[in-house]
């Protein structure tokens, strides 16, 4: 049913039950918000009206109404731009700032902070409220996420993301009144909880209360140490998002400029995680075929995503035998840099530092997992920085990113195919695996390499793909809540699949916790996904098993895919962990 109301003297008709905020947006009136966040495609709707920044005047109502959570009614008269409403909003921001550190200049969220932007937009010039300020200790326990509850504005977006979308449930509002703050269970350090370090809480935090562990200075140190041979590798999703940090349109492909910038920064070799992705497909497709031929357990689950890996270790410890044992692509590239590349070119692996540029925060944690290295002092990957951190490094070095001439990755670990590019978005890993598995199982060339049913932003995608005599039942999910739904169906025996791709972040790696902030605009993720597919189409080779550098690696060094040396270098194991 539709109702009629007026907003700022403009008459409009909208469906009953709509919020004032959404109604105003239909006529291009923007009401500022802070705690409110509606990411419809991710099924995240945070409208707890805790910040009161979106208040407006409603005729006949004594107090100001929060626009985000007040439904419209027939005959309603709303004013969003009266002096009372504007001063009301400014007062709310002043009150928030009265219990917020005034250290914007040194805050890692400086210039990317929603609270800071609001203070600027709403003309806050002084904070007239003086009083007690919260004093919480900063949680630096984890290897991926830093929590500074002093900067928390109790919007609880992180809690909604972690509970409703990811179903991990690490956070809860704790205490009451002024003491209330978002904490972990029993105030445990984040490292000791079931946190997957997916970083989606960081992606939606409006302030600097949740940030990635900053490792830029570690990279600078390695680059400035003449005894270190510093190798960098970049994930597929980085090249379609990095440009945003320099004012380029979302979805701009900046692969060549990124490589040029990395060389300017002083890396000795610029390699591509996509080479690791092609190797991953060689291993994973062989593992799938091995399981089919030897009656192994199906479905096989992808294991490229470290947040997903940690999720099933905590939440489904009885299913540890179904994920693929393949290491993730950047770990594969790391170990190959320190073995194959080092041996081929006569470099002491102990002198190599591998730096991964990732769209992901969990990769920081993953790189530090003790089993992901040849020995305790030689981890596969030494340092992981996010897309955001790389963008800062480029600015720190004074490089004019948009003026850089495009350059190519170094040989041989910089060679890749289109199959490796699509790893960066949801559906890509399984699509890449199918391109190879199809040809290996049928012995025939695959004409159409694009698997449309596996693409797009639907939370759970299913398809039956005929390969030779056999129908392959495939599922693709992104977002850990969707992953949980699928896994529960496997546990109960309700669903049967042959292969499932799971990525922790909604949209896959393009929506990773380490990407430039989307500030609630999910069209950015679609633009990045489109860029990924465009990059795939532009590649002369689009199947991992056709990558000549990868074939040479197997011929000269690894031997058979899924063979003994492959197991030693490219495969890993999983650990049962408690649910906290």
């Amino acid at each position: 049913m539709d109702i009629q109301l007026t907003i700022n003297d403009i008459s409009l008709t909208v469906p009953a039950g709509m919020s004032i905020l959404d109604a105003a947006r239909t006529i291009n009136i923007d009401i500022p918000t802070l705690c409110y966040l509606n990411l419809h495609e991710m099924r995240l709707n945070n409208h707890i009206a805790s910040c009161r920044v979106c208040v407006v005047e409603v005729e006949g109502r004594r107090n100001l109404a929060p626009a985000c959570s007040t439904p419209v009614f027939d005959g309603m008269v709303v004013k969003t731009d009266t002096q009372r409403a504007i001063l009301g909003r400014r007062t709310m921001v002043e009150l928030l700032l009265s219990d917020h550190p005034k250290s914007c200049l040194t805050c890692p969220k400086n210039l990317d902070c929603d609270l800071q932007a609001l203070a600027a937009d709403l003309g806050v010039r002084n904070i007239t409220y003086e009083g007690e300020e919260s004093e919480f200790s900063i949680d630096k326990s984890s290897l991926a996420i830093i929590r500074d509850p002093n900067k928390c504005i109790r919007c609880r977006r992180c809690e909604t993301m972690c509970n409703d979308v990811q179903t991990v449930g690490v956070y809860s509002a704790v205490g009451r009144g002024f003491e209330t703050v978002v904490k972990t269970a029993f105030d445990l350090p984040l490292h000791d909880t079931s946190c997957t370090f997916c970083g989606q809480c960081v992606a939606v935090c409006p302030t600097g209360a949740l940030m990635e562990l900053d490792q830029v200075d570690k990279v600078w140190k390695a680059l400035n140490d003449p005894t270190r041979y510093v190798i960098v590798e970049t994930a597929p999703a980085v090249r379609v998002a990095l440009g945003e940090g320099f004012g380029l349109e979302p979805g701009t492909i900046v692969t060549g400029k990124m490589v040029a910038a990395l060389r300017r920064l002083g890396f000795d070799r610029v390699f591509d995680t996509e080479f690791g992705a092609d190797v991953t497909i060689m291993e994973e497709a062989t593992e799938l075929i091995h399981r089919i031929e030897h009656g192994g357990r199906l479905p096989i689950l992808t294991s490229c995503c470290p947040a997903w890996v940690k999720f099933f270790e905590h939440q489904f410890p009885d299913l540890l035998d179904i994920p693929s044992t393949c290491k993730s692509p950047h770990q594969m590239l790391g170990v190959l840099s320190k073995s194959y590349y080092a041996e081929t070119y006569g470099i002491d692996p102990q002198k190599i530092t591998v730096v991964s540029i990732m769209p992901c925060i969990a990769k920081k944690y993953e790189a530090a997992r003790p089993e992901l290295g040849q020995d305790p002092v030689t981890p596969d990957v030494d340092i992981v920085i996010t897309t955001r951190e790389l963008s800062r490094m480029i600015r720190e070095a004074g490089i004019h990113f948009d003026l850089l001439k495009e350059e190519d990755f170094d040989h041989p670990l910089g060679e890749s195919t289109g199959a490796a590019v699509v790893f960066g978005t949801t559906g890509g890993v399984i699509e890449a695996a199918l391109r190879t598995a199809y040809e290996w199982l049928t012995g025939k060339p695959l004409e159409n390499v694009e698997f449309e049913p596996l693409r797009g932003m639907d939370g759970i995608k299913e398809a039956v793909i005929p390969i030779g005599e056999r129908d392959f039942r495939i599922a693709v999910t992104h977002g850990l809540g969707n992953a949980r739904t699928i896994l529960e169906k496997i546990q109960s025996g309700e669903s049967h699949y042959d292969a499932i791709e799971i990525m922790a972040c909604p949209g896959g790696c393009i929506g990773g916790g380490g990407q430039p902030y989307h500030h609630g605009n999910l069209e950015i993720l679609e633009a990045r996904a489109n860029a990924i597919y465009q990059e795939d189409r532009s590649k002369p080779l689009r199947k991992s098993h056709e990558n000549p550098a990868v074939l040479k690696l197997y011929q000269d060094y690894i031997g058979e895919p899924y063979g003994e040396k492959a197991h030693q270098l490219l495969h890993t194991s999983f650990t049962k962990r408690p649910k906290i």
């Binding site: 509970n163 991990v168 956070y171 809860s172």
Partner: protein
């Protein structure tokens, strides 16, 4: 299997209770009340146990426990004293009463004495305004606590006989 509830493992008692009720997740607060009855308080371990049993995130349980002042995460003393801070008691000097009780017990409000004999808390109104200022101990109301001796006397009833604190205090006003 032993049916005597006194001899039953407290976790077993709690599980039996949870198993006996329908709509478990919806009845979290009820379950927490029962758990506090059984254990005396709600330590992390008990909260975690409930989280596993109900398949709820531990953080959610912790959030609920921390919100309601009735729930306590610290062991309680044998006797629980509550000073009323309601309006009537407040104007009759309950703030001073609270300070004096704190000093006699040697703890702050919200804490428990080292010998685990007393826990001290505050409540809002208990409806005994005519006796203001009042303190309850284990639910029993002690009214018109206006001198240090009044308070000493009230507390002495809960101390084992022969302890030094039982000695008479002065009649000076608090």
């Amino acid at each position: 299997m032993c049916n005597n509830p006194l001899l039953k493992d407290p976790y077993q008692q709690l599980d039996d209770y949870i198993d006996s009720i329908p709509y478990k997740k919806e009845n979290l607060i009820l379950i927490l009340h029962r758990a506090q009855e059984i254990f005396g308080y709600l330590p992390d371990k008990v909260q975690w146990h409930i989280a596993q049993k109900l398949d709820l995130p531990s953080a959610k349980i912790y959030g609920v426990v921390s919100f309601y002042s009735f729930f306590t995460m610290k062991p309680r003393g044998k006797h629980v004293a509550n000073v009323c801070m309601g309006t009537a008691c407040f104007v009759r000097g309950s703030e001073k009463l609270q300070k004096e009780v704190e000093s006699q017990l040697g703890i702050k409000t919200g804490q428990t004495t080292e010998d685990q004999l007393f826990s001290l808390d505050s409540v809002r109104c208990i409806g005994a305004c005519g006796l203001a200022p009042v303190m309850t101990v284990d639910g029993k109301v002690h009214g018109r606590l206006e001198t240090t001796a009044d308070i000493k006397q009230a507390l002495a009833k809960y101390r084992p006989e022969g302890t030094p604190e039982e000695a008479k205090g002065s009649n000076s006003n608090i």
